[in-house]
Amino acid sequence: MSEDASEAVELLRIPVELDYTYSAGQSASRFLRAIAEGRLLGQRCPVDGKVYFPTRGSCPQHGVPTAGDPVELPDRGCIVTYSIVRVPSENIPLELPYIAVQVLLDGADTVLMHVLGESSLEDVHMGMRVQAVWRPRGEWTTSIGNILYFKPTGEPDAPYDSYREHI
């Protein structure tokens, strides 16, 4: 919109607002309902037995539903890889800089994208053992955001060979 009536109109601002109703899907819903109770549920691929966490309902490698019994996972694991983010994004309400991590939970075969807290930027490294820090129980919802962040456990690092195939 041009304020000055003597200038040509060269640019229009067009708002687009659309409301969507998203459904998580059956499998992710099961996973999210468990998270609301503080439990982390993975699911096995029926073909090769690999444990998917988080789960979207299928093993993308084999194109089959991961419909069997869920596998309960601990809230500990190791950092497979990470990045220190210094770029703001409208959709991410985190203070900069923050450490974005890919966490391989013990017993899982896929990584979870999350953030690392209680660690200096210098200390974070691949193989670092970490544990989830949960929100207060009363704030739990059906969201992976129930985990506020992961923090270092101080345990010895996981050996590279134990997680290299997950990068």
């Binding site: 919109m1 041009s2 304020e3 009536a5 040509a8 109109v9 060269e10 640019l11 229009l12 601002r13 067009i14 708002p15 687009v16 607002e17 659309l18 409301d19 969507y20 109703t21 998203y22 459904s23 998580a24 899907g25 059956q26 992710a28 819903s29 099961r30 999210l32 309902r33 468990a34 419909a67 019994d69 869920p70 309960e72 059906t142």
Partner: protein
């Protein structure tokens, strides 16, 4: 662990996707929208001599570049219309209205816009309508708030 039922229904939530896009216009549409701000409507002359409103920077049939702007009237004839009984929030008027194809005097193609006629009974193909200008202007196609039924044979 308690078994989780497969028939359990899925979690559902709503979310709004909202963004205000910035549309640069280029020379032809810039002239069109600048003129709208001045309560004038411009079309563009096609190679066959006919006038197209709203204008494009190319001939839609051949792809050839065109740029000769032609002023047309702000009143014209309804070529077709659709009566919206229950307008949605995003739509231009809060009460029932018509989307219409309006061929302005001096133009050879109709413009898509809305007619604020009050009631469906007031609408008729072939009826004359005139632009009702918005205040203030400079914001795009909404500079024409709506078209309204008009009497009289010609525009301004």
């Amino acid at each position: 662990m308690a078994p989780v039922s497969d028939s359990e229904s899925s979690l559902v939530t709503t979310q709004r996707l909202a963004y205000t896009y910035k549309r640069s216009l280029g020379p032809v549409l810039s002239q069109f929208f600048t003129a709208l701000r001045e309560r004038r409507i411009l079309g563009v002359r096609r190679p066959d001599g006919s006038v197209m409103v709203p204008p494009r920077e190319y001939d839609p049939d051949s792809g050839e570049a065109i740029s000769e702007m032609v002023e047309v009237s702000d009143s014209g004839v309804v070529k077709s219309w659709a009566w919206v009984h229950a307008p949605r929030p995003a739509q231009p008027l809060p009460h029932p209205f018509a989307y219409a194809l309006i061929q302005l005097d001096g133009a050879d193609t109709p413009l898509l816009h809305v007619v604020d006629a009050g009631a469906e009974e007031q609408m008729q193909t072939g009826m004359r309508v005139r632009a009702r200008w918005a205040e203030p202007r400079g914001g795009g196609i909404g500079d024409i708030a709506a078209f309204e039924p008009a009497t009289g044979a010609t525009g301004e």
